[in-house]
Symmetry: C2
Subunit: 406 residues, 2 copies
Amino acid sequence: MLQLSKFPIKTLKSAPKVSDNRSTSLLLQAWFIRQEMAWAYNYLPFWLKVLRKIESIVREEMNSLWAQEILMPALWSKEHWEQTGRWDKVDVLFKLPASTGKEYALNPTHEELVTPLLWEFIQSYKDLEFWVYQIQNKFRNEKRAKSWLLRGREFLMKDLYSFHKSEETLLVYYEEVKASYKRVFDRLWLWNDTYETIAWWWDFTTLNSHEYQTILGIWEDNIYICNECNTSHNEEVVDSSIWFVCFKCKSKNHRIEKASEVWNIFPLMTKFTDSFDVKYTDSDWKAKEVYMWCYGIGISRLVWVIAEYFMDEKGLVWPEHIAPATHYIIVMWDNLDKAITLSKKLEADWKEVIIDDREKVWFGQKASDADLLGIPYRIVLSDKTLEAWWYELKSRLSDETQIIAL
Amino acid sequence: MLQLSKFPIKTLKSAPKVSDNRSTSLLLQAWFIRQEMAWAYNYLPFWLKVLRKIESIVREEMNSLWAQEILMPALWSKEHWEQTGRWDKVDVLFKLPASTGKEYALNPTHEELVTPLLWEFIQSYKDLEFWVYQIQNKFRNEKRAKSWLLRGREFLMKDLYSFHKSEETLLVYYEEVKASYKRVFDRLWLWNDTYETIAWWWDFTTLNSHEYQTILGIWEDNIYICNECNTSHNEEVVDSSIWFVCFKCKSKNHRIEKASEVWNIFPLMTKFTDSFDVKYTDSDWKAKEVYMWCYGIGISRLVWVIAEYFMDEKGLVWPEHIAPATHYIIVMWDNLDKAITLSKKLEADWKEVIIDDREKVWFGQKASDADLLGIPYRIVLSDKTLEAWWYELKSRLSDETQIIAL
């Protein structure tokens, strides 16, 4: 139970204008985030609650794959990054001079850590396959300035790394990961508008890289979706100088949608295991190469994607299971005691409650804040209704109110 | 439920020698951590489970103070750090050149963020007092190399910041925070050997800074405890050129203990609120200064402190409620099905289970690994006992086994 009077929460009278999207404006107006410096956001309590709930869903699905959760450092040695040839190649790598005279990387990704870490555990074919994941802040030394939340200098990622005996077993596992990712995006109510999209980023593999793009109607990427077989293509793989041809069914019939990348899959193959000389001894006693894949989900990005995807004209809209709270109780006059009693009852039923007991804030302001914040259910406690032993319950998505007996 | 066969866990045959403490050796041997670079630790699954449980206890107690949880960035602007005069003063500050041509701080502490962030919310006396906290990775550009876990370049901290109308109201709140901290350390079973210790670090206050030190018998600080009134003093405030005199009761009778700092309190007073010109309008319409205090708990440090504090000759020992698991089931021969059935029963009762179903690992190795890992209860399932419908339960801290009917 969160009593708004205990904290000087001030929603803004109007949504500040930020570049090209409305959800960031709403998140600023509704007191989810504050920006004091370009590309760096302070997460206020409501944002953090949504973030942690999405994180829990991702963690549950990773655990259901029997993936082990670990946590690797944010700082890493130049030597490891040089060993893979990426110290001077990754242009978003932050390089940090230390008082020891050394330089460190502030990691944008963790292949340079996870590969030598797991080297110790991979000896025989019996040790393979396995997979680990972490949920950790990543850092990117971005040049392009953007005012909104999509591409920040630091952000929370889930990254899963899998290690395999061969390309074949890797592809079997890949299907399992895809199924678990589908469950994540189903649970976040995004799956219906999310497309597996063909993309290439890497020069060391001929396999397709995939990313998953959720259609948002605002810019990050244009995706080309085949109208015949529904295969989606990132703009980067489409040669715009010629007619679009679907990679899969060769149809030219397509549509273009604006979308945001929500997860990606990198077929790392043996690039990193070779760099660190990770081999396994097979049952025929021969030393063989270890195949590796990496699968990411942008967790802090998802908070924003969900905000953008579900918002309406009145403000933010959160699915009930990831909302900052399920119920928003508007207290007018002296009903705080009754609000607390009701909150405790709701909490015993696993609900979460915000009590708006701010003084000298009118009913209209409280009601519009409840809508702006996107809390699924709004309860009004007034003297009049309490005398008659009922209160008013309204769902965020409907205009009708229900009468509930106390 | 964690099946060890699903992951190539390899405890080490013997504890690697690291500088001056045994717990880090045990944590390495028992597969809690791995070190690939000086001062940077990879957290493996067992460590991470303990860390998250301690984090939950701290979060619960902070929430019980009605403190709001927020999360601030790790990167911050040079300008903010210059505004408080600390850009060139804090010698552990990592300074990060970015591709934009700017320099950023990688924050070791967050006064330069929380003060301007909350400036927006502090206007009238009615907005005060309030407090926020975060649980976040801190970074320190340390010169001194240490091989063990106590002083790393990155570590997880809980930092609470409180904002007050006056020194008097600040001191009232301080007693509430102390009570909540006592509950945290009670719940971690450390309170009996933890001392409020007088210390000074800062030049802008004449109030005592406090730190809390847990007696460990190995080095970080020497504390001087008065035998008459039990007041503890950090070595740094004791003039070792003269006789020790207790600050409180003036007695010379004392003992010296080796201890580790587990929490600290900084009376920031108006240093930071003045730097950012944060003032409030009082009921008399005068602009007044805002008083601020900061209270820290080193969460990742606590994992190590607890390991060091409770370990015995057989290995690690974890209090049941923060252990990586409550039960360690040793499976010999073909009893995995029965182990899984029993695990599910235990999990329905909120227990957590590690199933040691590793192949070709002898009973003796599994039993000593159960002890080394410090799991509170060990269960042995063998064909012989299962035929007679019982299994063997042993507590980590006793040598006697109990017979439990299936």
